[in-house]
Each structure stands twice: as structure tokens, then as C-alpha cells.
Amino acid sequence: MSRLTGGLIDRSAALSFTFDGRTYQGHPGDTLASALLANDVRLMGRSFKYHRPRGVFSAGSEEPNALVQLRRGARQEPNTRATVAELFDGLHATSQNRVGTLAFDLMAVNDLVAPVLAAGFYYKTFMWPRAFWEKLYEPVIRRAAGLGRLSQLPDPDAYDTGFLHADLLVIGGGAAGLAAALTAARSGARVILADEDFRLGGRLLAERDPLEMPVPDWIAALEAEFASLPNLRVMRRTTIWGTFDHGVHGAVERVSDHLADPGGRVRQTLWRITAKRTILASGATERHIPFADNDRPGIMLSGALRAYANRWAVTPAAHVAIFTNSEEGHRTARDLAAKGVGIAAVIDARPDVPKTEYRTLHGHVTGSRGRLGLRSVQVTAAGRHEWVDCGALGVAGGWNPNIQIASHHRGRPVWDEAAQTFLAGPGGPVGLTVAGAAAGQGSTAQALASGARAAVAALADLGIAAQLPALPVAEDQAPDATPLWHVPGKGRAWVDFQNDVTVKDIALAHQENMRPVEHLKRWTTLGMATDQGKTANVTAIAVMSELTGQPIAATGTTVFRPPYTPVALSVLGGGDTGPQFRPRRLTPTHSWAEAQGAAFTEVGPWMRAQYFPRPGEATWRDSVDREVLAVRAGVGVCDVTTLGKIDVQGADAGAFLDRVYANAMASLKVGMVRYGLMLREDGFVWDDGTCARLAETQYVVTTTTANAGTIYRHMEFCRQCLWPDLDVQLISTTDAWAQLAVAGPRARDLMSRIVDGVDLSNAGFPFMACASLTVCGGLRARLFRISFSGELAYEIAVPARHGAALMARLVEAGADLGATPYGTEALGVLRIEKGHAAGNELNGQTTAQMLGLGRMVNPKKDSIGAVMSRRAGMVADRRVLVGLVPVDPAHSVVAGSHLFAEGAVQDTDHDQGWITSACHSPHLGSAIGLGFLEDGAARMGEVIIAANPLQGQQTALRVTSPHFIDPDGGRLRD
């Protein structure tokens, strides 16, 4: 065991966990990484390309190496950073990206041929012979690619979405963030403090005595005060992963990732936090210093070594060495020595090496040994080489502020020559300021003060007065910085650990003129691993700058993009999966139809009754044929509520509709209905429906189901944006009225039985009449004599809550008339038989002329789309709607087939149209179809070929009128 004394772990409880099948013990407060180190496990993973053995490199979310598969079964979670995985009892983890065991990974052969796999190698080979890429090379590459594995099972956990609002959001709960939150919360402002860790304190937890009092005491006092402030919300285990426009932030709270099982709670919550001001106090990430073979397990960031010792009371080895270019390394050495860890040596790159109680050498680390874990490092000092035995090496190369979130908008980081770091530049998110180490304020005292100052300033912006609080006396030694970007040498020196990008790869990119940072990144895959280059990018930019001789400031950075750390797709999806993916809109008769045993189908957001099977019917076709014939012979009832309904009222309602519809509506008489054709402003057909004039100043118009929302929006656009001078008001009443179609030769008989005292005779209520009236003894209703089926038909509307009762009453009252409920399938057959256009014909590519409705576009008035519908290309389109029947009645007609003249070559150039809709017509006893055909009107009786190469079909069809039934319209008028 490599446990030290102290630390913020609870030794009173033991947690059992497994890694690669072996069982270990840890304590509450441990991460998987700290617990593995405590059990002397240094080897935790393999790198992406060369499969090099890797151990933990950091103590935070920047971890590039220690990635594991956490949990098992459907909860298996690939690529989890052991450094942030909170330990729980029963935790199950396995290593990944290996063939064989972690210690003996067969894929490590890649490392032997590493010179071949240099940056960009795959762009230069695998090209011959051509077929081999897909058959051989790519399958091999794909198998080798990736890190962890998905279980291929649906995620069993629940997720949630929430919304929060604040005056001030503080990102990060370290010294600066705590000071900012305290300052702001005391002012009474609404404050949210979010931190990715499970314990507040940030870097304070990793240091030895940074404050005058013990850190846990100070934080405990703060937390007590925080708990008493209702205007402050502290969100632990919460990562702000992206900042969006106008103060909107994406946050993920890991509600139960620290538990073996969520136990009825959600696993994670996606929060959308809208904040007027934001303080980014996200700290800094330590830089490493690339040297030859710097990637062995045991080599890690110096600050991480310190964090493991101070916070987690663990050291990866009994003897450690430090490689530093500043006081930072000595701080680590002193902290570890204080815990009884042996300091083999501190290798300090600075010429003036301080006097220390441990061995200090001026020089560089230039190599390392140890196949699966560090055994020794080579130190080169004044030209002399020496091997120093150690089980771990801490590398301290300075600190890079965590400014990713400040750069999620247009602002690019700017190089600060004095601080030798990139800092947040101008053009960052509006309302966001950076504080603490993220702003280059490196000492604890600086961080505290800058956080408090930032809070006062941010709130002053909002007109809220906040006072600087009394802050504890803190250490005030800012990290000095004379960067050592890398140790030159012949060996491979890793810059990006996970993706195996070395200094040599950067040099090769330079040699091949892939010098702009974006080319460098893309050519070498630098910074494209799961850590997004948090420990690699700045170093790589510096190395490239050294090679080009251009200053770092001119070299620039790549663009930071969300998320700050990777986010599970489950939580981004918010948990509304499966049937909950989208709301289901139900018609007023839905429950009634369900009780009748109806089959349902999705129609946009709606569920509609598709058909009503009866006992003895073997297939859906049997049911649909019966329903269609029942309508043609007797009477059928269908719920058509889903059609959009818009109530149009006002003195100028008629004038308004004249401009919205292609045909005239102002001339419509009160009590009458007219078919209406609506164009888009570009002249193509948008929608059709009926327009009923209920009163001098009131119309009710219908739209297709699909366009109900868009047409309403468009009409509001016309009303508010084009013609606000017209006296007209609109309201959508789609959901307010249940509407039922009652169709068939006995429809009048049926309607007469429920309508209260209105003469429904042909003279009294002729075709296209409409009226407001009552039914069933006083229920208010609207009656329209309109027909989609070609039969004598009505549509009756009643307040939506009475829809189901009306449906039941109609079927019951019409039992002797053969009243039959019918669904969308029969509705479709009936309209195809009648030759009415529907969604398949009105697909947004259709002109009025193609529908045979060209003359409806009234040239005497200005209406939406009229002018553009007269464009030459549209007028010249010779395709028109025709009916199609198979020459051999046994053959089928398939929608989506393309139409060709008999004997014509079947290719794009000879294409004459296509079949839009098709069905079996029980009325005709054969298949029928509708389609658009060039010069169709002049080709009645001609035999053409329907080509459906997709399904290997060629069918001879005869061109007919699209009105298969009652072409003169006698049925619906009588």
C-alpha cells in the first residue's frame, strides 16, 4: 500500500472495487485513480496509436492516459477518466484499447513499427490496389481504432433537464470561485456556484496549508454560510461544459454517478443556466515538459503528485523524482518529503538551483526506463548523464490557464509575453469575466482577491452593491515562469499522450509545411483526443513556434469548442427517448377508436385511426375495402379534426383572404363554402382547403393536417407584416373543434337524425353550404356540406370535448344505414378514386397548373404567389395530374414509379413524370394511381410504362382522367 498520512479520505469506511478482474480496497473520498495508486497500480491504460503502457498523468479532468471502461452491462461507460471517477463500493472497471491483457497488449506491436506510423502516414499509403482499401486496409484500421466499447444496449438510466436563472454564475469552486461566490451571495444577488468536483475547494485541496487556517475548516465554515443563504445555489459534481449566446450555459450535474446504482434517481441532469453575468474561475492546468520516453506509467504532472499526496494521501512510489523549471517542483518535493516520501532528486532546469534539504541537480531529464512502470530517469547535467532510480517523476513546466469557456465564442486567446501563457482575449462571451488562476492569478492570495474583485465588478454592472469580504491570509507565491517547452534529443518525446503525438511529429509537420496550427493539429491529430489537448496544445504551439521562428503570439491557437469536458449523449438528449421522443397529439375520438379496436398511424405529430378491423378480416386491405365500400354504398364517419382550422374575423376578412388565397374569397356568399388554393410567394402550391363564410365578417378556413401550423404562421405574417391596415383577426381553432366527415349516399339521412331543426334537403342546404346550428338537441355545431370522397358528404364540427360522443351517436344513430367508421387508409382510397390532391401531390414542388388548377390563380387581383406563378419556367412545365390504371387488371400501381413513353429509353433525360399516389380501388376492382405526366391531358387512353427499377418492376398503365369516380360530380351535388 502506498497510503500516506492525512488527506481528505474517510478511513473509517472501506470500499471494495475491481479493476481488470482484481479486487482492491479504497475509501470514501477516493477517485478510482487515487485508489488504484494506493494499491500500487500504476499501469492503467494504453495509448491510442502505439498502445504504449500508460499510467495516471493528472489528478483532474484533463487526464489523457488513465481511461477505463466503468461499470458493466448496459451501464458500461467507455473512456471514463479514472481521475474523476468517484469511488463507490462495488465499482467495476476494466482497461481498454488492448488485445490481450493490459500488461501484454498484442497491439503494442504498433510501437515497434512506430517510425512507419509517423504523422500523416495514412494519407500517403493504402492506395494500391484500389479495392484493397475497403476490403483490407480500412477494416484493419477500423478494428484498431477507437478506445472503449459501447455495450450496444439501450442506456437503462433516467435523465432530466432543468432550467436555472441567476444574476451571477460562478464557474469553479476553487479559491477564486469560492471568494467570488461568497462576495456575491452576501450581497443578496441570485448566485449559482458550480464545480465539477464532488468537494469544493479546487486546487486548495491539493496544497499543503495554502491558508492561515486548515483548508477543510475554512471550507466547512463557508459551506455553513452558503447553506444559510437562500439566494445561493451550490452545485457540486456539475460541469459547465459550454457557454452560448446571451448568458446561456450548458451544465451537467452528475446526480448519481458516485453511486453503484441511481436507485430511482436520475443519473445526470442537463441544466440550462441563464446568467446575467458569469465569472470563470476554472483554474489552470499544469504543463509538462516533453523529454525522451516521457510517457511511462509513474511520470505525471508535479501538481498531480502533490494533489495525490495532500488530498488523497497516496503516492505512486516510495521514491520520486521531480523535473521542474520553477519553484513549483520544489513545492511538490517539500510536500512529499513532509509525508515521508523519498525524494530521489529534483532536476531543476534553471541555472540557479536553490539550496534544498534533498538532492537537487541542475539539468534536464533526458530519458526513462521501466517497461510497464517507471524505474529510473536519465538526468543530463553539464554534459554528464546519470540514471536516477525512482518509481515516479513529477514534471512541472508551468501552468496554462483554463480559458476554454472564455473562448467558446469568437474570442481567441492572446499570448501574454510577461506571463508566458495564453489568456482570454477580447470578444469572449458577453458578461463573462475571468478570475483566479484562469486569469493568470496564480497564487492563492491572488486567486482569492481576484475572485472577490470580479464578483464586486460583475454585480456593480447589474446595479447590485457588493462588499469585498474579509478573506483568509493565504500563500502568495505566484508560479514563476521561464518556460522550458521541451528537452531536445533523439528519442521520442510525447507532447499529446493519448494520441501519441511527439515532438518529432511536430517537426515532421513543419518539414512538410503543415505549419498553421490548424494544419498541425489535423495532420498530427494533436489535441483531438478525449482530453482535447488540455495538457498538449500549448506545448505543441510553442514547439512549432520554435521551428518556424515565429513568436508564439503569431502562431496562435486552435479554436476551443464545447464541451469543456466530454458529455454523455444520454443527458444531452434529456431523457425523452422512445415513445416520449415527441409529444403525441390525440384526436377527440381517439379513446373511442381505441375501444373499437382501431389500428393507429402516425400523421406528423398526430395519431390517427388508420382502419377499424372487424372479426374475420384477415388483412388490413379487407378492412379498408369494406370501409370504402360502406362509404360508397351507405355512409361512413371519419375524424378529420387534424385538419387545421383558422377563424378569420373582421370587416376586412374577405379582402384579407383574397390576398392570401389564389382564388377569390371576398365574393363568397354568407352560408357558403369555397375550395381555396394557397400559393407560396414563389408561386408554387403550398396548401389547399376550404373557406367557409359563416357571417359577413367571419370566415373559417381549413388547412391540410401537415401545414396547420405553417399556414397559421404565414397568415399572421400577412396580417401583421404585410397588411396591418386591414381590419382582421386570426385565431387557430384546430384543437377547439372536433370535426367529423360524414360521407356516402345515406349521409343526409344520417345527418337529418342529429341536426336540430334545419332543412338539409338539397335545396335547403345545397352542396357547399355551411351553417352554425345545433345538433343532438342543443349542442352548438358548424355544418359544412363539403366532400373529399366524391360522395354526398358533410363535415360537422362540435366543441372538441363532445367529439367522441358525437362519433358514437352518429355510428349508433346510423346503424340501420350502415354507418361505418373509417380511418385514414379508406380516406386515402376515397380521395384517390375521386382524384383529389393530398400530401403526396402537394409536396411543395407542384404548380397550380400541374394540378389542373391554373385558372384558379386569379389574374385580376394581387395575391400571395400570383406574380411568381407566372414565371416562364413554371408555365412551361407540361406535367399535369392524370389517373393511371394497369392495362392488366392483375397488375399493381406503385407510387414512386417513374413514367416513360412505351419503348423509350429509361433514363433521366426521358423521364416524363412519376406516380404520386396509388391504391387498390374496391370500386373499380383494380389498382389505380395518380401521377404527374408530361402533356398528360392530351394523352388520355395512351399506354405508358411505369418503371420501378428499385423493385424490378415495369408496368404498362393506361392514362385516364384522375377522377375515377363520378367525374361530373353528380353524387356530391345531389
Binding site: G427, F717, C721, L722, K861, D862, V867
Partner: protein, 93 residues
Amino acid sequence: MLIPHPLLGLRDASEFTYLGDAALLDRPDGMAPDAAARFHDYVHLRDNPAGLHRELWFHEQGDRSWLVVTRNTLTHEILGAELARDVKTGGAA
């Protein structure tokens, strides 16, 4: 994004439906002799500026008013929003 609705205050952009350039307010006269050319411009051509853009948003999940929003297409900063009806009639209510 948050849109400062002139009647309702700051509302999330997800409540709105976007249409495009507020030049769509200026529909030409369809009966004018040069209507064809003017409608082509009106329907199809856009300034598409990188910078300030006056544009139409519909408060579909709200009060159903059409707004003219002035927004910077480079930064997404919103400088103001007016009722389209007011813009069209030339005066704020």
C-alpha cells in the same frame, strides 16, 4: 439566445420561429407593370450582411406576434426588437 420581446420582456429564442430578412415586410405591388422583376428581388435576393441584420421572428410559442429583431450576425448580439406591425405602420404603439 434571448430575444427582448417589446411586450413580454426577454424570451428564449426557442419560443420563436425565424423567417429571415425584414425586407420581407416590403412586398411589392403585384399589379405593378414591373411586378415580375420586383418580386424576383423580393422573394430571392438578400443582403445577407455579416453584421447588423434586421430580421423577422414569430413568437409561435408565445403571443404570436411577429417581431423585427436587430441582431449582429457575427456576434449574435441583439440590439433591439420591435413589433413588426409597428415597424410597418411607421409608429410604435
